[in-house]
Structures are given as structure tokens and as C-alpha cells.
């Protein structure tokens, strides 16, 4: 059964987390691709009483947290996960991933979680709210996936109260796990998440290169002049061993210190903006093999971190 609009919620048992701090946590999660899926933006709905709190809106799923629960809503069909059970595994993996992320953030505070999950199907055409149908695709998926995660028959599954009371609400099941929920153990039993990647920095000049490319050129050992076009104070804090030529001194450098025009030159700055200006000037001055490190020093350090992780 194809059922890709699913929502999973995990109720908080203790004090609500600091939702103001959560906004920053979510933005950093986007920056570092710390959660699964293509992450887009943060929506602050704290002003709505009984509302969704703060959402991390994604392309195919939204992560959320309010005073009552952590939640994940899968909106689109993700990859090959078309069947209801596969989609539920994915949704739960994202939910436990969200918990893992928040639990590691000091600003959020300790998270006390209830021993109960709620799973809803958000597709009134394929999955109308007729909870008595024990053979429904939603029920079957909940039963089989919870069996895999918590042990056969360990979870008590019953129609969720709100959905049972109101036929207009999306069909939902409450799943109680008497022994409590161990997200780390559950994650081990779920299929692994696809590799996460920080999106590429957007093009900054016509002559951008990636951090991997620059690394490769350096490893190849071919002649290369590396220019750092930031200011001296920035250079002192961190650098890649390039030659310090602040952007505004590039003109003078071209007149006095420039190598032959056929030399390969790579420039970088902090995030690629000044580098893009520098490479434009170099090309205009006749350097046909001049390149800008897209994303600058930030992209270089990010790439380093990713390689170390791998």
C-alpha cells in the first residue's frame, strides 16, 4: 500500500524545551546538514496557542517541536520508500534523529520523553479515518514496524483519542511501549539514513573551483600560486598557507609582484565573495588559469571536516 503522507509524534513527558533556542539549533542543523533530507528553512509558529511550535521545513519532510511533542511529517514520497511500512521506518528514523540532535544540545535542556508514539496518515483519499478497520494499511504498517523495533507484541496499539473522537481528523494510532523507548537502540534496527551532504555553495564567479579540486591540485604538485585576498587580521586568525594579498592591494600586486600570465593562480577569501572579485580582476589582467575557491576558507574547512568524518 502506497501511503507516503505520514506523521509521527513522540510526546514529551517533562518540561517543554526552550523553543527560542530551538530556532538557532534548527538553523545550525540546516547549515551542517545535521538531519536527514533536504532542509529548507525554519518556521516560527510559537505565537499560535496549541500550534506546532517551531518547524524545520524540509523538501520531503518537516521536523517540529512544541511544548508537547517532537514530530516529523513526511510529505512526499522519499526515494524508493513508497510502501506505508517503508515510509514509516523512514519517518521514525527522522524522529529519533531529531531526538538525538536535540538531546546533544545544551541550550535545549534535558528532554524527558513519554513511552508513547503517535502515527497518523495524512491522506484522506487513500486512508480515510475508519480506525475500526484493523486491517488498514496504516495499522498493518504500525504493527509490523513496531514489532521490528520494540519486539513482537511489545507495543500496545490503539486508535489515538483525538482521531477516534472526530472522524474529520486524520486516522492515527497511539503506540505504547511499556519498557520505554530507546532511540539509539531503535535507530540500530532501522535501515541506515542516506549519506548527508551540505549543499554546495552557490556559484560565485564564472571561474569557481571546489575545495576538493583545490586539494587535488595541491596533491598533484603542479605549480600553483595560492592567494589569500582577506585582510591581515583575518589571515592571522586562520589561513591555508597562501600568499596574503588583500583585495584592495591586488592592483599593486598585479603591477609589481605578479608571476607570468600562464601561471595557475587560485584565490580564496573567507566565504568566496571577495575571491570572486579577485578572480575577475585576474582574468581581466590576462591570467587565463585563475580560479576562485567557491565558498572560501569556510568551504575548505567544511570539506576537511566531512573528510575526517568519512
Amino acid at each position: 500500500m502506497k501511503l507516503h503522507r505520514l506523521s509521527v509524534r513522540w510526546r514529551l513527558a517533562g518540561a517543554p524545551p526552550d523553543l527560542e533556542a530551538l530556532i538557532g539549533v534548527f538553523h545550525r542543523a540546516i547549515q551542517g546538514a545535521r538531519l536527514e533530507g533536504l532542509l529548507l528553512d525554519v518556521a516560527d509558529y510559537r505565537h499560535i496557542p496549541q500550534g506546532p511550535g517551531v518547524l524545520l521545513v524540509g523538501h520531503d519532510a518537516d521536523y517540529g517541536c512544541n511544548a508537547q511533542a517532537l514530530s516529523v511529517v513526511c510529505k512526499r514520497q522519499g526515494g524508493a520508500a513508497a510502501a506505508a511500512d517503508a515510509q514509516l521506518r523512514r519517518a521514525l528514523r527522522m524522529l529519533f534523529g531529531l531526538h538525538t540532535l536535540l538531546a546533544a544540545e545544551d541550550e535545549i535542556g534535558a528532554l524527558a520523553m513519554a513511552a508513547e508514539l503517535e502515527v497518523a496518515a495524512l491522506d484522506r483519499l487513500r486512508a480515510p479515518n475508519v480506525l475500526k478497520a484493523a486491517d488498514s494499511a496504516l495499522h498493518n504498517a504500525v504493527q509490523s514496524v513496531c514489532g521490528e523495533l520494540f519486539g513482537e507484541g511489545a507495543a500496545a496499539i490503539r486508535p489515538a483519542a483525538d482521531a477516534a473522537a472526530d472522524a474529520r481528523a486524520a486516522p492515527a494510532f497511539a503506540v505504547e511501549i511499556p519498557g520505554g523507548i530507546n532511540p539509539a537502540a531503535a535507530l540500530k534496527r532501522l535501515p541506515p539514513a542516506p549519506a548527508r551532504r551540505i549543499p554546495q555553495t552557490a556559484p560565485q564567479s564564472e571561474w569557481d573551483i571546489s575545495a576538493e579540486q583545490l586539494r587535488q591540485w595541491q596533491n598533484d604538485g603542479a605549480p600553483l600560486r595560492l592567494l589569500d585576498v582577506r585582510e591581515a587580521e583575518e589571515f592571522a586568525q586562520d589561513n591555508l598557507g597562501g600568499e596574503l594579498v588583500p583585495l584592495k592591494k591586488l592592483g599593486a600586486w598585479l603591477k609589481a609582484d605578479a608571476p607570468p600570465k600562464k601561471t595557475r593562480v587560485a584565490v580564496h577569501c573567507h566565504s568566496g565573495v571577495r575571491g570572486a572579485q579577485a578572480v575577475k580582476k585576474l582574468r581581466a589582467a590576462g591570467f587565463a588559469d585563475a580560479w576562485n575557491l567557491r565558498g572560501g576558507l569556510l568551504a575548505w574547512r567544511e570539506n576537511e571536516a566531512a573528510e575526517n568524518e568519512a
Partner: protein, 763 residues
């Protein structure tokens, strides 16, 4: 059973419930989606098609987003596109027209389902009585439209160059001061013009509005392209018809086309206006294409002559006459339960006496009909969740005979509530988190979507609004009878979707460059007036950093409270103080502290990212001192301030002159970045600025293009005769916008490093 569900389609499931014409339109739209996906339909043609069905773009749909550190290419599939620089896969916004704001419980339930399944469970009420869903995927839009069509809602002509939602006073039919109920006429206008051949060829959008009386604020007809005010003359119903109003970047007050048009002829009048606008309105330059520019160019008398001539040429139309004679009422549902069931319980149902009393004082209002009340469900920032919407539908059935209206204040009104049911209604709303008091007061802040989801947003209007709500809820000013009634309205940019021009305290988003970093700001707009259908627009007083905007509100409200004389109203107090003294109140908040001591000033409300205005992060270019541009442009800002003072003192000639000089100073500030020796006269400045910044489009921004630059060129080419208030006010407004555009231009130049060395550029 599972197999049958598997292949189920909304198209089949709802076939019997959708009018055939609407079903065909949606099928056609779905076919166009498929053609575009296969690359068989041109990008621009498809964009116009989807806009006409309310399928709108949203922030980051060009596939790029600044994450606080760098601009990232969001890895959407790059093909196909759904418009220029708009990625197919990027989520967008769906606008849903609600004519006159009339809504049944069943419709609200379907909207709730759609928000839950296709969006983020939030229904957002707009400042034009529409709903908007955000983060919607384009593949889901045909089914979304079918589900709405099955309950009588069409999204046709919700965006694009078409007749937009027809708005009306949400109290129509129950209001004490109305001449008659205008809602059926609004509904008739909508039915008559929807898809009408005479409204398909506009150069720009066209927004109509109805009001039941002259003096309240509800209809806001003065700021609409066409407005209709109910009048009764010799026992006959008719409308005062006004045209050419509009907010936008430069607000225009509508002008009177007809003092009295009998209802039998009002659709003919509208049709004639539409045909004149379609024929003579600007088509190429969208910045001059609203009907307000046509009315201003022709003059209202000539425009009226053309409309009269057009009327004579329009063929007879029995459908039109029938709609005028028997305007269709808005859809209503019958209440499911007799209201009397609750009467005997009402005392015990009121859970908290003081909460109830507070809510009743601000949210319940007596109707014209004896013993009945209209109650406002106060939605914070216009937002309601799917679960809340279902609870509200229940309450509407139980207590309001199934009758709801959205309002331009972004709330929902329930009507025909018996006095004895008020406590039970309050309890029902309270249980769903919908019993917020303070409707129509200081805490009921209006805001457009701004940087949350809008592509044009500059500052976080919703973030500021939420912060103000929180601070004001606990503040004495919100409960003090002198100040509780003041209204705050916020737009995320100069485009006025938050209607900041008609607020007591208005704000619109802009930004400033401080020591090489961008800082989100809000322009403070004071002196606007919503009553008399928005008869007076406010004036820009100066820009304050976003983070200081709440302090500005507190300072202004506090000063009003302590220095008002003889119970004078806020408007009168603003007028008495004058721009100079008001500026003095705002001045202390205009300064931006250094990045090291107050980094929060360099982020916006509800956003943890370091603030940026574009795809190119200008935030990294630290260490610059105040630029030459910064010093020069301050002159322009003080001149525009002087122009406002002159305007206030009814020195219209002086105001126009100073506004012109302000534009010249801003233009000169730009020129001096490249050519330091430029002279002081207009003849020296304008050609230099035009050659260096306008002709090569460096002054242009992506959306307004050369709009603001044209203000200076127009004034330079043909100075208008001075001495008239409306023209002078417009000049002042234009000068303000020109300065904003100069700031933006400077930021783009700084970010792209385009500035040519002074020596090289000197002729």
C-alpha cells in the same frame, strides 16, 4: 479494498461535486503542468497560467538560500522550471480567494484537510480576506483545487493580472451603521467578473472592495483600485463608486467616479471601468500599470467621460442585469443544533469569569439585530491550525448558524450569536486555543508574510509582530482605554501588503549598511488613518533597526499617554507634535550599536542567521569605515525629512522642491562613489547618474526594475506644477523610495565589487 484505494483519485472521487466548468479548468491546468514538465510549454506562458490559478512563488524558489554563513544551492532538480528563475521542485504558496470573506464550516474543514495534507497544517488569513497555504508542492495543486472546488471555492484569478478577491466589510448584514448589506453585491461582482472576457487583458492586478458605510474602516475602499460605498437615495439602493486608489510603494487615495450609481447599473459601471482600463492602461511597464496611474494621467473627469462613453457601447447582458437585481447571498449552512440547547447551561459553561469578561469586552460586538452578537476569533498573525479550524467549524455550526467571515485584520468573525450563548462560545473557543482577547486592539498586530516566505521580504514583519504581541500582552498600554485601541500594521517591504500606511503605528522593512554589515531596519510610518475607509495615509518618519522597533512602539505609546491634552486622539496628538518633535522621540532608537557589543542587531526577529539581503553575503566584508556614500546619503535623508515638515505645514511647493533635492542628493551620493568631482546642480547630477547607474540598469532591482529611478527622471524631464497636496505628498513618498533604492543599489555595488576606480571613471 486496499487495491481500490491504491488507484483512487480525487478527480474521480469528487467528479459529481465539482461544477463542470471548474472541473474542466482544473483538468486543463493539470495538463499544462504535464506539458511544462515535458518542456512543451514555454516557461513564461506557464508562469502566467499558474499565477492565474493562485499558484505563487515563495522565498528560495530560485534554488538558493543564504544559510547564515554562505549562499547554498539547494539541490532541487534543476529542470524543469515553473517560471523564470523558479525551480519546479521548490515549494510555493497557494492563494485561495474567499469572496467577501464568506466561509461555511464545511469549507473551513476542507481547507483544514488541505493544510494538513499539502502544507504545514497552518491556514493563514491575509489582509485581503484570502487564505494562503505555504510550502505547497506544485504537483499537489490540481488535487488541492479539486477539493476546494467541490465545496464551492475557486482559486481562479487569485494572482496574476486579474480581478483579485472582492473584499467587503466583514460586518456586512449585521452592522449598525451600514446603509444596506453589501455582501450579496460583492458576491455578484465576483460572479460577474470571474473569467469575464473584459477582464483578461489587464496590465496589472485589479482589487475591488465594498463598504456598507462611509465612516468605518472595515471596507478600506479608499485604498482599492475600485471601491463601492453603499448609499440610499430617495429610497433607492446604490453605490458611491471610487477608482484609482492603491497602496503599493506610492499610495494613492481613490477618487470619486460616481456619487451615486443605482445598484441596477453598478455592474455595467464596473464593466465600463474594466474595458477602459484594459484598453488604455499601461501594459509594458508593470510599475505604472495599476489603474491608479491611468486615473492620475487622465484626470478623474476625463476618466469619467471615457467610462460614460464606454457604457453606451456595451451590449445588453441579461445575466448582468439579473445579478444586479437579485444578487446571490453568500453560502451559509444551517446550524446543526438549536441554540437554545445551550442557553440553560451557559452560566456553568463559562470556565473563567474574568477571562470571559475580558474577551467579551474586546471580541464581542452587538449587531444591528437586537440581542445578537458578532464575535471576533482573534488569530495571532492570521494563523490557525487544521485542528483549530475544525473546532472553529464546530463552534460556527453550534452558535453562529454556520456563518463565518474572514477579515482584512486577519481574523475570523462569527455572527448571530445569542447573548446567552456567549459564555458557551467562549468556552468552546478557549478549549481550542482560539479565545485570545484583544481583537482590534494594540496587540492585534497585522503583518504580511515578509521574510518568512515572501520573495520580496526585506525584514521580518511576522517576527516583529510576534515580538510586539508578546511584549504588549503584558503591557499596561494594551489595557489602558486611551491606548488599547491603537493599531499596529507591519509590512516586510515598501509594497504595503501589511497596509502600514493606514495604521496608527506603521512599519515597513528596509535595511542599512553599518560598518560593512547589513542591519535589518523598519521605517516608522505615523499618522495613517483607517477610519473613513482609510482616508489618510501615514508618513515615513525615519528608519530604526528591527531590534529597536518594539522600544519605539513603547516610547511613542508612552509619550502619547503622558503628553496628550484634553483627551485628544492619537491622530490629533501626532498632528500637534509635528514631524520634528516626533522625530525627536524616535531619534534615540535610530542608532545601531557595534557588532561586537550587540550582535543581535545584526540578526532579525525569529531568525538566528546573520542577516543578509541577497544571495551574495555582504556580511563578510568587515572592517569598512563609514563610506562616502553613507555620509552623502544622510543629506538626502534630512532633505526628505524637511520635505515632510513642509508638507505638514501646507507648504506644498516647498515640499516638492525639497523632495526633488533629496532625490538629487541620493543620486549624487551614488555618482560620487565613482566620480568624486560631480557638481551640485541637477544638470550635472542627473545625466551622470543616468549614464552610470540607470541606463546600464545598475540602479535596478530584480523586482521593481527601474521604477524608483524613473521618479527622478520624470521630475527632471517635466517638473509638475506645484501647489497641490496630493501631488506633493506623492513626491515626498517617491523621494523616500528613491533613497531606499539608492541604499539597495549601493549594497549591490559593494557586494559585487563593480565600483570602478574613481580615477578610471573620471571623464
Amino acid at each position: 479494498m486496499a487495491a481500490a484505494n491504491q488507484s483512487a483519485r480525487w478527480k474521480d472521487a469528487l467528479a459529481a461535486q465539482i461544477p463542470q466548468a471548474w472541473a474542466d479548468e482544473i483538468d486543463q491546468f493539470e495538463a499544462q503542468l504535464e506539458l511544462r514538465r515535458q518542456g512543451k510549454l514555454e516557461e513564461k506562458a506557464f508562469a502566467e497560467t499558474r499565477l492565474r490559478r493562485g499558484v505563487y512563488g515563495q522565498r528560495y524558489d530560485n534554488g538558493q538560500r543564504h544559510d547564515g554563513g554562505a549562499t547554498r544551492a539547494l539541490p532541487f532538480n534543476q529542470a524543469p522550471t515553473k517560471g523564470p528563475e523558479t525551480v519546479w521542485d521548490a515549494p510555493g504558496m497557494q492563494r485561495i480567494k474567499i469572496p467577501a470573506g464568506g466561509l461555511t464550516p464545511q469549507q473551513l474543514e476542507v481547507l483544514a484537510d488541505c493544510a494538513e495534507e499539502y502544507s504545514d497544517e497552518i491556514l493563514h488569513v491575509t489582509t485581503r480576506q484570502d487564505f494562503q497555504l505555504h510550502y505547497v508542492h506544485i504537483e499537489d495543486t490540481p488535487d488541492l483545487m479539486r477539493r476546494l472546488a467541490a465545496c464551492g471555492i475557486t482559486t481562479r484569478e487569485a494572482c496574476g493580472n486579474s480581478v483579485r478577491n472582492v473584499t467587503a466589510c466583514p460586518l456586512a448584514g449585521v452592522c449598525k451603521s451600514e446603509a444596506f448589506d453589501v455582501a450579496p453585491y460583492a458576491h455578484a461582482l465576483m460572479q460577474f467578473l470571474l473569467g469575464h472576457p473584459d477582464v483578461q487583458d489587464f496590465g496589472r492586478k485589479f482589487k475591488p472592495a465594498f463598504s456598507g458605510c462611509e465612516h468605518e474602516a472595515c471596507g478600506l475602499v479608499q485604498l482599492h483600485d475600485a471601491g463601492f460605498v453603499a448609499r440610499v437615495r430617495d429610497g433607492r439602493r446604490g453605490f458611491k463608486v471610487v477608482v484609482g486608489g492603491g497602496l503599493g510603494a506610492v499610495p494613492h487615495q481613490a477618487q470619486v467616479l460616481s456619487e451615486f450609481t443605482p445598484v441596477e447599473e453598478f455592474l455595467l459601471e464596473v464593466q465600463a471601468v474594466a474595458r477602459v482600463f484594459a484598453r488604455l492602461g499601461e501594459k509594458k511597464n508593470r510599475n505604472r500599470a495599476r489603474i491608479k496611474f491611468l486615473v492620475a494621467a487622465l484626470g478623474i473627469d476625463e476618466f469619467r467621460r471615457k467610462v460614460e462613453a464606454e457604457k453606451a457601447a456595451i451590449p445588453p447582458d441579461p445575466r448582468r442585469d439579473e445579478l444586479c437585481k437579485n444578487p446571490p447571498p453568500l453560502a451559509e449552512e444551517k446550524a446543526q443544533n438549536a441554540q437554545t440547547n445551550f442557553e440553560k447551561n451557559s452560566k456553568s459553561l463559562s470556565q473563567n469569569e474574568s477571562d470571559f469578561e475580558q474577551w467579551r469586552a474586546t471580541n464581542a460586538r452587538e449587531q444591528r439585530q437586537q440581542g445578537l452578537f458578532v464575535c471576533t476569533v482573534h488569530l495571532p498573525l492570521g494563523d490557525i491550525t487544521s485542528a483549530q479550524a475544525r473546532a472553529l467549524a464546530d463552534a460556527a455550526r453550534r452558535f453562529a448558524a454556520g456563518n463565518m467571515r474572514t477579515s482584512v485584520e486577519q481574523n475570523i468573525l462569527l455572527r448571530n450569536i445569542r447573548a446567552t450563548d456567549l459564555p458557551a462560545l467562549h468556552s468552546a473557543l478557549h478549549a481550542a486555543g482560539l479565545a485570545l482577547p484583544g481583537a482590534g486592539t494594540l496587540v492585534d498586530v497585522t503583518a504580511c508574510p515578509g521574510t518568512d516566505t515572501c520573495k520580496l521580504g526585506i525584514s521580518s514583519s511576522r517576527g516583529l509582530a510576534a515580538e510586539l504581541r508578546t511584549r504588549l500582552a503584558a503591557h499596561a498600554a494594551a489595557h489602558n482605554q486611551n491606548t488599547a485601541g491603537l493599531r499596529i500594521k507591519i509590512s516586510g517591504c515598501f509594497n504595503s501588503c501589511g497596509q502600514h500606511h493606514i495604521a496608527d503605528l506603521g512599519f515597513y522593512g528596509n535595511s542599512r549598511n553599518i560598518d560593512g554589515r547589513r542591519v535589518p531596519h523598519f521605517q516608522v510610518v505615523l499618522g495613517g488613518q483607517a477610519v473613513d475607509n482609510a482616508a489618510q495615509y501615514g508618513m515615513a518618519m525615519g528608519s530604526v533597526p528591527s531590534r529597536a522597533a518594539p522600544e519605539v512602539v513603547m516610547a511613542l505609546v508612552g509619550a502619547y499617554e503622558t503628553t496628550r491634552q484634553n483627551g485628544e486622539a492619537f491622530q490629533a496628538w501626532i498632528a500637534r507634535l509635528g514631524k520634528r518633535d516626533l522625530r525627536r522621540l524616535i531619534q534615540p532608537f535610530m542608532k545601531v550599536p557595534g557588532y561586537e557589543s550587540a550582535p543581535q542587531f545584526y540578526t532579525d526577529w525569529s531568525d538566528a542567521r546573520e542577516y543578509t539581503i541577497g544571495d551574495l553575503g555582504t556580511g563578510e566584508c568587515a572592517g569598512e569605515v563609514v563610506s562616502l556614500f553613507g555620509i552623502e546619503v544622510m543629506r538626502a535623508e534630512s532633505q526628505v525629512f524637511d520635505a515632510q515638515v513642509a508638507l505638514e505645514e501646507s507648504d506644498f511647493e516647498g515640499a516638492e522642491d525639497r523632495a526633488y533635492r533629496a532625490m538629487l542628493s541620493a543620486a549624487r551620493a551614488l555618482v560620487r562613489m565613482e566620480y568624486i568631482d560631480v557638481g551640485e546642480s541637477a544638470a550635472e547630477i542627473v545625466p551622470e547618474w543616468k549614464a552610470r547607474f540607470f541606463d546600464n540598469e545598475r540602479f535596478f532591482d530584480k523586482f521593481a526594475r527601474g521604477k524608483f529611478g524613473q521618479y527622478l527622471l520624470d521630475r527632471y524631464a517635466a517638473p509638475l506644477p506645484a501647489g497641490e497636496r496630493a501631488a506633493a505628498a506623492r513626491r515626498v513618498e517617491e523621494a523616500q523610495l528613491f533613497i531606499e533604492a539608492a541604499h539597495a543599489c549601493e549594497a549591490r555595488v559593494a557586494a559585487s565589487g563593480e565600483t570602478q576606480a574613481a580615477a578610471a571613471a573620471t571623464p
